[in-house]
């Protein structure tokens, strides 16, 4: 997994690529929590280049969302590949996370 934080229209956007699994999830959590501790009001995450996410990756985002909700923050996903979308749907998390088609949809929300 590779994780970078880009700035788009003045906002921080998390860009992910590769596999998010038991090995890489602790690193993802570290980055995510560092941003959330600063109480960012919204955090868009680009899944466009994510090839695989396992339950540890999903749990990491659930934990992140739980923390953001405590101060009214929003965790926003976009560019989710169909295979990953199917897993989110199966675990009913497609109705828990805010999911958008692309970055423009996130900014328009």
């Amino acid at each position: 997994m590779n994780i970078t934080v880009a700035v788009y229209r003045g906002k921080k956007v998390v860009e992910l690529s590769g596999d998010i699994d038991m090995y890489s999830s602790p690193e993802l959590r570290e980055h995510l929590m560092a941003l959330i501790r600063r109480k960012v009001p919204s955090l868009p995450v680009n899944f466009g280049n994510v090839s695989y996410i396992d339950s540890s990756g999903i749990a990491t985002f659930v934990e992140g969302l739980k923390c953001m909700k405590s101060y009214g923050g929003r965790l926003q996903f976009f560019g989710i590949p169909e295979g990953i979308m199917e897993i989110l749907r199966f675990s009913k998390l497609d109705r828990v996370f805010e999911i958008y088609g692309n970055i423009e949809d996130v900014f328009d929300s």
């Binding site: 038991m22 602790p26 339950s55």
Partner: protein
């Protein structure tokens, strides 16, 4: 479809007795393969070989191209991380809660924070229909619930392959059907390779893409479910039509056996 497992010329003995007699077959990746056969035909023994718990007398088992019959324990443990196994008796640790049982492989094999692990455990328990039972001990669960808790633990590390040893054994038909439905969903959504050892025909007809049928330690069928149903092999027909075995010896032979002559 790539093969997840290839078995070639597998032979095994318990003492002098030959259990598996030079068997060869492949298991396709991303599919559900059922190993079928009557009691004592060697199917549970075969499963133990596939997960590296037993060393064969002869032959090879290639898991993703690597021969597990020649691996040492460290190499086998690395392979087993990719496998989830639901044993017949569920094999839960009675002194631990359901949460701790499911969390155990995650705590042992990953560097995930416990806060993440607890969410993962709740996800796995929800998947098997056991939400809210985190704090229960195995002794407080029914047989079907223990199976599902065992399955949640088998799923703990998101395995690529899932092995079931007689998943329906001891379950009522409704609970068994629920477990079958879950097996079908796991394959579809997570693209898992699933291997199920069973002799329950309703279960076979629900979950199987491919069937390997054993009889007295030999493979007598290897193919699709439709192929199995169409087979005219007398042993397969007996099994599918639930016909009893014919008497294997005459009354005179029987007398000699019980009289100890």
């Amino acid at each position: 479809m790539e093969n997840a497992i290839e078995v070639a010329g597998l032979v095994t003995h318990y003492g002098e007795r030959e259990i598996l007699k030079n068997i060869s077959f492949s298991i396709a990746g991303g599919m559900t393969t059922v190993i079928l056969g009557g009691s004592g035909c060697g199917k549970s023994t075969l499963l133990k070989h596939l997960i590296g718990l037993l060393k064969p007398t002869g032959g090879h088992i290639l898991f993703q191209g690597k021969d597990i019959t020649v691996m040492d324990e460290d190499e086998l443990n690395e392979v087993r991380r990719k496998m989830g196994i639901l044993f017949q008796g569920s094999a839960l640790l009675n002194s631990m809660t359901v949460l701790d049982n499911v969390a155990l492989p995650m705590r042992e094999h990953t560097k995930l924070k416990d806060s993440t692990i607890q969410i993962m455990v709740r996800m796995k328990l929800d998947l098997v229909g056991l939400s809210g039972f985190e704090g229960f001990y195995p002794s407080q669960l029914s047989g079907g619930m223990k199976k599902r808790a065992g399955l949640a633990r088998a799923l703990a590390l998101d395995p690529e392959m899932l092995f079931f040893d007689e998943p329906s054994a001891g379950l009522d038909p409704v609970t068994a059907a629920g477990l079958d439905e879950l097996i079908v969903k796991l394959k579809k959504v997570f693209k898992m390779t699933i291997v199920v050892v069973t002799h329950e025909l309703p279960s076979v007809f629900t979950i199987a893409d491919y069937v390997i049928m054993l009889d007295a330690g030999r493979v007598i069928f290897c193919g699709t479910l439709d192929g199995l149903k169409a087979s005219d092999n007398p042993r397969i027909r007996m099994f599918l039509e639930r016909q009893p075995e014919q008497e294997s010896y005459s009354p005179d032979d029987y007398f000699r056996i019980i009289a100890g002559e």
